[in-house]
């Protein structure tokens, strides 16, 4: 075990404890770690974007493969820099417009397919009382119907609609409760991992110092 590894791991341990100290209350250690991670991560992402984004998506296509059409988004990208000037900042709107147009256009058919039609298809199941699954299918369908009624905006929640919407929000709450309960396990695992890391540091240092 070389000294460098021990020092780096000790730094990591220190920062881990800095963040945990936040559980008690805000304090200088937390502030230090917070500002450090903000600076480091922004720098890290910028550099990674350069190596894994700019080089393969702009530089290499244009200079090595002669795919000149990649210059078009490059120019648009540079237009966002117009925001540095008060007078010219409106130019950046063209970039925003292209970006939004593409994002929105891709989303229209995909969202309709993935969220609406797929769920619709999955819910059209035989409903009957001959076996238990048929009954469950019926309940699922009724649940979906009530849930959808809750999301009606142009009708007040009164009368029959109100009753169905009320049932709808109950069903949504069951969904949320289940979601909450299911997530606890994963979060506990995360904490267990951090504690294991701290324990490993302890084992490493005791081994280095006293040889056991």
């Amino acid at each position: 075990m070389d000294l460098g590894t021990i020092i780096w791991n000790t730094v990591a341990l220190f920062l881990t404890l800095c963040i945990f100290s936040f559980l008690y209350k805000d304090n200088p250690f937390y502030k230090f770690a917070e500002h450090l991670v903000v600076g480091v991560s922004a720098g890290y992402f910028a550099i990674i974007l350069y190596f894994n984004g700019f080089l393969p998506k702009v530089w290499e296509p244009v200079t090595q493969r002669g795919e000149w059409w990649y210059l078009l988004p490059t120019i648009l990208g540079m237009m966002t820099w117009a925001r540095f000037s008060k007078k010219w900042s409106w130019i950046s709107r063209f970039a925003i417009a292209f970006y939004m147009g593409i994002a929105v256009g891709v989303a229209i058919p995909l969202e309709m397919q993935q969220r609406v039609i797929k769920q619709l298809h999955a819910t059209m199941l035989p409903v009957h009382f001959t076996n238990i699954q048929g009954v469950w299918n019926l309940l699922i369908m009724l649940g979906v119907l009530c849930g959808l009624i809750y999301f009606f905006f142009s009708m007040g929640h009164k009368g029959v609609v109100g009753g169905a919407a009320r049932l709808g929000i109950w069903i949504l709450m069951i969904g949320f409760g289940a979601g909450f309960g299911l997530t606890v396990m994963g979060r506990i695992s995360l904490l267990a991992d951090r504690i294991t890391e701290i324990h490993n540091w302890y084992l490493m240092v005791t081994k280095a110092l006293w040889g056991f």
Partner: protein, 266 residues
């Protein structure tokens, strides 16, 4: 196969005709109601209490002389929840501009910065207070989820906003932010369409905007007739979906599967 059909199949994916038909119907509904709205027909919208709470939160911030924090989620502008969030940000700014409290907007993705700047600036202009716009309140923090969370936690604890408004696409950071916000005593209104995070907002925030309500928010807050019209179009689509569902299940029960399999997307 007829030659025309054969030729067409090069230019049109017939596997996806169901998507096209449903989209076409949906567009027709929305157009129809937008036109109705343009003609001046008044359109009713039910109450969404979480959205009424925004006004209350802004009012309280004014009384306390403390800022309002607006968090737009951690995804880029190609996520439609972020887009919706930016539109809501414009509406909220208009509300905030009427009072004299600062609006803080920490941001996670660089490309959201210019969009948020425009939205906030327009909000102030619309409220007739263009000078109140302060560019420095819209801050990029970090692309990294938890670095961003750490930064937002810092703002919550040190600038002590009276209200935290969280609209957009949130992931695991939702509960960290909401719990920190709760500990500072802020009123919290949150909305997201990420189903896996809704439970945490429901548990930790004062009001939660659920799923589709997020996309109805701008119509609700602005009361602009055209937007309300599209809301009505969506409702009609939902009604149609309910009928299709019932019909599909009934046919399926009697062993007729052609109807439901038409909705299968390859």
């Amino acid at each position: 196969m007829s030659p025309i059909f054969f030729y067409l199949s090069f230019w049109f994916d017939f596997n996806r005709i169901n998507v096209l038909v449903i989209l076409g119907l949906f567009f027709a509904f929305v157009f129809y109601f937008i036109n109705q709205a343009k003609k001046g027909k008044s359109l009713f919208v039910r109450r969404i209490s979480g959205l009424d709470a925004i006004e209350e939160a802004v009012g309280r911030a004014t009384e306390m002389g403390k800022p309002i924090l607006y968090i737009s989620g951690i995804e880029d502008m190609d996520n439609l929840q972020t887009v919706a969030s930016m539109i809501i940000l414009g509406n909220v700014t208009e509300m905030v501009a009427r009072y004299d409290v600062p609006l803080l907007v920490p941001i996670c993705r660089p490309f959201v910065v210019p969009v948020a700047e425009e939205a906030v600036k327009q909000g102030y202009i619309k409220a007739g207070k263009p000078d109140a716009y302060d560019k420095n309140n819209i801050r990029y923090i970090s692309d990294e989820q938890f670095a961003y969370t750490a930064g937002v936690n810092g703002i919550m604890l040190r600038e002590r906003p009276a209200a935290n408004l969280m609209f957009g696409s949130f992931f695991a950071e939702s509960l960290i932010m909401a719990e920190t916000g709760f500990s500072t005593g802020a009123i919290q209104v949150a909305g997201t369409a990420n189903i896996h995070q809704l439970p945490f907002f429901v548990v930790a925030c004062d009001y939660t905007i659920i799923g589709e309500e997020l996309f109805a928010t701008s119509a609700y807050l602005s009361k602009e007739p055209k937007l309300l019209g599209s809301l009505k179009g969506s409702d009609l689509a939902k009604f149609l979906i309910m009928i299709i569902l019932i019909l599909g299940a009934l046919l399926e029960t009697f062993g007729i599967t052609e109807f439901s399999s038409w909705f299968f997307v390859r």
